[in-house]
């Protein structure tokens, strides 16, 4: 791409000190991943910012086409490594819709509980690293302390801290572990006081205020045109949240607000995410309080692996077990678009089935990719020092962007 080549001559007369082209990244601490931004500068002012993505391309979408439907779940973990359970959930919901499966309430409640904890996890990483970029180092340690507790919860439920693969097509991989819900309860009872702590450290901090207030505005119409979703859009006063507009996994049965701010700057995006932390904590408490009893997988013997006891004692269950593991299950031909509200915005899986046991095509509409489209308009004409705060407020994950 011609626009991304470093060409000093193109930026005016060589030897001039007025205009210059500067590479930010791909290895730059504040890009949080391998993102390259080509900045055209006039002194301290950014004339044009062009993001160059694709350094973290893993070909996950293509890999999904050669794996059975259930084998795709571990791949979805690796798309957005800060919102692995949101990705698990979105993929499972899409395939379940194609199969016409009905997921029992207990599985839905556990899914809601864990995806909201994922949102808390992701926002904590964002807050810690964003504050670190801007110069408030202490917050980082407290955020990562709470994140460590969350990762232990994930390890408790799924067996892994990051690559959970806990949701499966048809329900959950395993029922909750011994003491699992009590551990979640202990964490979530304490959590609002932790949020108070972060806010006490940041809200009144004059440096934090000056670095964030009024920085990085973008017209809301432009945001919609570029496909920006999530906290960015809600901080511009547009109350768009898939959990409310197109409820999935029984979200309509939970009471929560969609935090909206009107400032349309880095500060408002910070406020939206802080309020979302509290709302997510409320949803987790509701899920714990109203947790129904019952099975954790759908009643679909041709899709869901049978109960282990049954598999060892009943021949029919054993045959299904062998068939599902070796061949997978076939999904009726058709296509489906399923969106969920991931921590970064609208995450969607578009699955095309040709009636076989493997997806014909699987496309991910990832929020980081959509949000990064707006990087240029967000930075054009701003100061270079503000670009760090503005970029940080987008909260992109490059694995999510390039997949």
């Amino acid at each position: 791409m011609a626009t991304l080549e470093m060409n000093p001559a193109a930026a005016g007369d060589t030897g001039s000190t007025r205009r210059m082209t500067l590479n930010m990244g791909p290895q730059h601490p504040s890009t949080h991943g391998v993102l390259r931004v080509v900045l055209e500068l006039d002194g301290e002012t950014i004339l044009k910012a062009t993001p160059d993505i694709g350094f973290l391309h893993t070909g996950i979408e293509k890999q999904c086409e050669v794996r059975t439907y259930q084998q795709v779940v571990p791949l979805t973990d690796r798309v957005d490594y800060l919102a692995n359970l949101s990705n698990n959930l979105c993929y499972c919901l899409a395939v379940e819709k194609l199969l016409g499966l009905e997921i029992p309430p207990r599985a839905q409640w556990v899914r809601v509980m864990l995806t909201e904890i994922t949102r808390i996890n992701s926002h904590l990483v964002w807050l810690g690293t964003h504050a670190l970029d801007i110069g408030a180092m202490t917050v980082f340690f407290y955020c990562f302390r709470e994140r460590e507790k969350i990762l232990r919860l994930f390890e408790m439920f799924s067996g892994q801290r990051l690559m959970t693969s806990y949701f499966r097509v048809g329900g959950l991989a395993l029922d909750a572990p011994r003491g699992g819900f009590q551990a979640v309860r202990r964490f979530i009872d304490e959590f609002p006081s932790n949020v108070d702590e972060y806010e006490n450290l940041l809200n009144a901090n004059p440096i934090w205020q000056m670095r964030t207030q009024g920085v990085g505005p973008m017209p809301v119409d432009d945001m919609i045109d570029w496909g920006i979703t999530g906290p960015m859009l809600r901080a511009a006063g547009f109350p768009w949240d898939i959990r409310k507009t197109e409820p999935y996994s029984s979200y309509e049965k939970f009471q929560f607000e969609v935090p909206v701010e009107t400032g349309n700057d880095v500060w408002s995006r910070y406020r939206v995410r802080m309020r979302e932390l509290r709302e997510s904590a409320k949803i987790v408490v509701q899920a714990l309080d109203g947790l129904p009893e019952g099975p954790i997988t759908a009643d679909a013997p041709k899709v869901v692996l049978p109960d282990r006891e049954k598999m060892k004692t009943q021949m029919e269950a054993l045959i299904y077990h062998f068939k599902i593991v070796t061949e997978g299950f076939s999904v009726p031909a058709g296509e489906i678009y399923q969106a969920v509200e991931a921590p970064r915005g609208e995450l969607a899986y578009y699955v095309v089935s040709n009636g076989t046991g493997k997806p014909h095509r699987l496309h991910m509409r990832t929020p980081s990719f959509g949000n990064l489209q707006g990087l240029g308009p967000l930075l054009d004409g701003r100061l270079i020092a503000d670009s760090i705060a503005a970029m940080g407020s987008m909260d992109f994950v490059l694995g999510d962007c390039d997949r």
Binding site: E155, M156, A173, L201, V325
Partner: protein
Amino acid sequence: MPKITNVLEGASALVKGLSITFKEMMQPTLTDDYPDKPPVFQERFRGAHVLQRDEFGLEKCVACFLCAAACPSECIHIEAEENTEQVRISGGERYASVYNIDYNRCIFCGYCVEACPTDAITHGHGFELASYDTSTLIYRKENMLVALPADAKPVRIHEQAPAGGHH
């Protein structure tokens, strides 16, 4: 004067922040002291694989290949052989004469454990797999199989097979 109020506000914010820092200094830490102390794992932690034996000391694996079929990263390689009267390795008809897991490829998703109909392959809590040489990361059956108890009778092993028997 606005300037003095600004300074006072800034100072009060500083005191507020530092009071949190000092309060937190007294709190217990959450991190593990690894490598000085062993890390704490949850029960379900998916670490390095362990191949189990049954109550007679026989291998539980009957070489049904379900784990290899379930593996999304195709890292399990099995070669099966028949048990005979003289040489009995597993409880079933067949046993795995070769059972390799390529830890260059393994993603610890737990699908093999889920697929195994005899509970032969399980996740242990081992995690120190790092190596400078990728060829050492292909684990053979001997690396993963649980050891026989010390007082176990040394029967039913290859070496005791009569000449001309199974090899």
